[in-house]
Symmetry: C2
Subunit: 290 residues, 2 copies
């Protein structure tokens, strides 16, 4: 078989996936800036936030790079969206752990990832990521999960509902499998605590029909876009207390613990020469370990 | 050879080491509380901080435990001192990585560790740890390192000077070796940055004369006690600006990144069923990733 790195068919797939991740970034960006514009609650005296973009390249020449975009606003204390497309050869350690890279370490990977930390402890934090990875094999991965300080059944139901519909449109087995995977993945064993109220998580998705897998990955991004902004609108005008804010800062500490101790994307990025500013953009703007 | 777990000689050594770590905790506690009492600079309107102690036990019955002590004061925003003595059998993963545990996984470990995060960005943060570990072999490890926001040559010289004297009293090769080890260990590869201005770090210290090694481990604790309080006194009355405070909170983020991404003690503790509150007590009280 021709290695995907030398295949016109895979080259075209890579171009389409990358273009989608960038297009999704545009839509997400617009949706978050619209929330900033619409805000009339606490902190509305501040200017509505806007994303500022910074392009970065992987060191060592022709190895790809990305664009990180950060918004600091009045609904969102910090939102980071990173689109990156990187390629090259895995080092010894990664070869053994990445499917299809054992015999030939060449890889290509592109994706979009978002983490939003709201100002208000009443508005849940959120994470969304979709990516395509190509070695001698090709697959999609990603997911979305919600991290409220104060879980709200309506929010949880709406968030899971949108993801479930996206899953069911492709395979009735996806939602139960990917929900469970999310619950298992976003868990802090040292605390015995889940990170939040879950969502879906999937990886190595290669159902044998690339078009179908790509359509599913797109659908996950769209489901996130459908589900999250209404949750923000529902809570962004609520006032909050100092005690609620203090609890939010402690909860954010758990987010940091998860990302630095366990998150595979963070480890992958830092160990493959990714841009630390882009990778650690997910960390909350203000945190407490009292 | 008798396994140390069944040897009266090793039992007596363990008792003495543990008693020393607890005695050092008392002296360190008194020295930090004296700094709190003496303070007349910024925040002096607050009450002087006192350590509050909490005992904890490892889950699963007779497996040891510890006492964590936290001070939240007006010189120190947060100081954590943990003394723990734990024992049992390593799991599969650890056996292969801990010297002397391959054939027999039984272990005993005791130590004292301290991390201090000052209120003032002009006062350096500090870390000190000494420990004794026994498997089929026995050794000491530990060190101390200084993390200023604004490095000051006098402070750096005084801190290193005290540690160097402690080292030289035992072996002229110790200081250069353990200083280099510290520089290499407390380094953030993803940032290309050292954590601070260094100090000493040593592990697996077994020079063939347990009494001499124990005397050295004690000397390191005493050198820390000699060196750090004068550095605090030198800077604790200086006023600071909002910009300096902001930089301190960012610098603390690097501390968190190091501890969660790289620190072996943190990983060891969390993976051997240590108390997460005690292990993560080292994390700074307030942090920013702006």
């Amino acid at each position: 078989m021709t290695h995907p790195a030398e295949s016109a068919e895979w080259g075209a797939r890579e171009d389409r996936a990358r273009a989608w991740f960038e297009a999704l970034r545009e839509r997400v960006t617009a949706a978050f800036e619209a929330l900033e514009d619409a805000h009339a609650g606490p902190l509305a005296h501040l200017a509505p936030g806007r994303f500022a973009r910074t392009a970065w390249e992987r060191p060592g020449g022709d190895a790809g790079g990305g664009v990180m975009a950060i918004l600091r606003g009045r609904v969102f204390e910090k939102v980071g969206i990173n689109v990156s497309t990187v390629f090259g050869s895995f080092g010894e350690e990664f070869r053994r752990h990445v499917p299809g890279a054992e015999a030939d370490p060449r890889f290509w990977a592109s994706g979009v990832s978002l983490v939003a930390h709201p100002c208000s402890p009443r508005v849940p934090a959120v994470h969304m990521n979709t990516r395509m990875v190509v070695t001698t094999r090709g697959w999609f991965g990603g997911g979305a999960d919600l991290t409220p300080v104060y879980p709200d059944d309506n929010d949880t139901r709406a968030f899971h509902g949108a993801l479930k519909r996206a899953c069911n449109a492709h395979d009735p087995g996806y939602y139960p499998r990917f929900k469970k995977w999310c619950d298992e993945y976003f868990f802090l064993p040292h605390r015995g605590e889940p990170r939040g109220v879950g969502g879906i998580f999937f990886d190595y998705l290669d159902g044998g029909d690339w078009e179908a897998d790509f359509a599913f990955a797109r659908e996950v991004g769209l489901a996130f876009l459908e589900a999250y902004p209404p949750i923000v609108r529902r809570h962004m005008d609520e006032p909050w207390s100092e005690d609620e804010r203090a609890l939010q800062l402690v909860k954010r500490g758990r987010y940091v613990e998860f990302n630095l101790l366990y998150d595979r994307g963070t480890q992958f990025g830092l160990k493959t020469g990714g841009n630390p500013e882009a990778i650690l953009m997910s960390l909350p703007p203000e945190v407490r370990w009292p």
